[in-house]
Amino acid sequence: MNQDKTDAIKDVADLARLNFDAQELEVFALQFDKMLEYVGVIEQLDLENVEPLLHVVHSENVFREDVAEKSLSTAEALANAPKHNDVFFKVPKVLK
């Protein structure tokens, strides 16, 4: 049972590129249990005809007009890049 939970957490962690050891996974499993238990209280309510709440503040149609504005300079854009060649961002090769 607990193994299933830690496996599920590990899957999600892998997708998020996070590494945890077995002990950490156990701790998370316990913590997640508590959180789900807490949120699970809601299940006592009849939510048959209630739409999921997507935003706390209900707002729609917040637009910007389609006008091109000034962008960063390339030097500014690259300033925080771990690796660049003054024109491009550089990342480890992903294709052979």
Binding site: L54, V91, V94
Partner: protein, 497 residues
């Protein structure tokens, strides 16, 4: 732009035992001024990493704000394809790690896309049409561009990152590679007529993935499908789908079975190759995008977009056939390129006498003389400096037998070179065709008198000398004698000898 249909007789089209079931996912890059969620220019071809800002670079704390035209443009596409428009829709995050997407997720629409349940009509040979269902059309953002072959590292240009896309997902209604080609062609024409995408497959403003499966004909159950990617030209779409259906049928016939996987079309080997199997498929963990407000499209907005929708390619094609009396072929050629069909209409509108035969003559002139020059110079009609009025004049000059078609072609070169009106060129260079019978009668009798020996040979049975007499007479009149009258007159005088 006119690319003939590759005749691709895959097994599916000739084998009655199996049929292909194909659905297409088409991405169209929108012609907005700025990106989907920030004010960076969406210009194609700018220097690398010049159209970027904290939002599209995914800097912490930056917030997206939706470009109104993204909604406006997708509504045009939705309404042009008969889609239902959802009043309330939202954006979701599609999460995956790849360096061309600095946020770690793509903003897209997942459940409840803004447009759904539409259709596109395609033509199958002789004007029969088939309806291909549209499952959904949704909004999303493009990724950056990775360059793998210039450096030991992968180089990334984020100019394209955040440029708005729409994804058009079809129902699995397509039954052959040729139908897939026709469907894609229709989408391309529609987005271009709507002015929301430049329709360029080679440059990637239109991209196509295909879901392909096969099944026994008559079966209602779907077979296992593969997804085929990298279809970056019309030719490749047809070839790749043809190849993939053949591959699946051969596999099944030899006792094997198709596995659900993603394959990539490799144009150099003309094969589809395995990219990833289903086990390696992504889990995108979609969830509602908390940084963007929802989109609400009321009836008023829908009506306003509807009222400004232009005439669509299929409608225009029908009108060209009905109103101008053009053959389906001619109408199809023009409609494929909106500018060219606009040009035809402007030329036809400049005709002094508006009649079906003159419309057809204009059509012939554009399809032969004008399109030959466009293809020689590799330009579009809008880059050719010629007035529709001059094309109409020229066509009327030769339909009215004022000049021969040979002279008309010479005049056309002049018109292109110096922009003068064909009528002016005719009078300045004295090119008007001689249709005065008395004048031609005189020219013919002079030629016959000067070639007595050949007249005798002709009378003795060497009738192929007739062409020689024609060309001699035309030459004597500087090419201006009406060939029809020359022929009649020669026959008359030779018979009388």
């Amino acid at each position: 732009m006119t690319e003939s249909i590759v005749s691709n007789t895959s097994i599916v089209e000739t084998n009655s035992e199996y049929e292909a079931v194909i659905g297409l996912e088409v991405h169209a890059q929108l012609l907005t001024e700025s990106k989907a969620f920030c004010g960076c220019s969406s210009d194609f071809g700018a220097l690398p990493n010049t159209n970027v800002c904290p939002v599209c670079l995914g800097h912490p704390g930056s917030l997206p704000k939706l470009n109104r035209n993204l909604v406006e443009f997708i509504l045009k596409m939705g309404l042009a394809t008969g889609c239902k428009i959802r009043e309330h829709s939202i954006f979701s995050r599609k999460n995956y790690f790849y360096a061309d997407l600095p946020k770690g997720y793509q903003i897209s629409q997942y459940s409840d896309p803004i447009c759904y349940d539409g259709k596109i009509e395609i033509e199958l040979g002789d004007g029969a049409t088939k309806r291909i269902g549209i499952t959904r059309i949704h909004m999303e953002e493009d990724t950056g561009k990775s360059i793998h072959d210039l450096d030991i590292d992968t180089l990334i240009d984020y100019n394209r990152c955040g440029v708005p896309l729409i994804e058009i997902v079809s129902e699995p209604d397509i039954r052959s590679a040729t139908e897939a080609y026709q469907y894609l062609m229709q989408i391309r024409q529609i987005v271009m007529y709507l002015g929301i995408c430049d329709g360029n497959l080679e440059e990637g403003s239109l991209r196509c993935d295909a879901n392909v499966s096969v099944r026994k004909r008559g079966s209602t159950k779907f077979g296992v499908k593969t997804e085929v990617k990298n279809l970056n030209s019309f030719r490749n779409v047809e070839k790749a789908i043809g190849y993939e259906t053949d591959r699946q049928i051969a596999l099944i016939k030899s006792g094997g079975f198709v596995t659900q996987e993603t394959r990539m079309w490799d144009a150099s080997s003309q094969q589809t190759k395995l990219m990833r199997s289903k086990e390696q498929a992504h889990d995108y963990r979609y969830f509602p995008e908390p940084d963007l407000a929802g989109v609400y499209v009321n009836a008023e907005w829908v009506e306003r977009v509807k009222s400004v929708l232009p005439e669509l390619p299929m409608e225009r094609k029908q009108r060209f056939m009905n109103f101008y009396g053009l053959p389906r072929y001619d109408a199809g050629i023009f409609v494929e390129d909106k500018s060219l069909s606009d040009f035809f209409e402007r030329c036809a509108g400049e005709l002094e006498t508006k009649s079906a035969d003159r419309f057809k003559a204009v059509s012939n002139w554009i399809m032969t003389e004008v399109m030959r020059i466009l293809s020689d110079r590799k330009i579009g009609i809008n880059e050719l400096a010629v007035l529709p009025k001059h094309i109409a004049e020229l066509v009327e000059l030769f339909v009215g037998e004022v000049v021969s078609s040979k002279i008309a072609k010479e005049i056309f070169s002049d018109v292109l070179a110096n922009g003068k009106s064909p009528k002016v060129i005719v009078s300045e260079k004295n090119l008007a065709q001689i249709s005065d019978v008395a004048q031609i009668e005189k020219a013919v009798s002079e030629i016959l008198a000067a070639n007595g020996d050949n007249v005798e040979k002709y009378k003795a049975g060497k009738t192929n000398l007739f062409g020689f007499f024609v060309s001699q007479t035309l030459k004597a009149t500087g090419g201006r004698a009406n060939p029809r009258i020359v022929t009649e007159e020669l026959q008359r005088q030779l018979n009388a000898v």
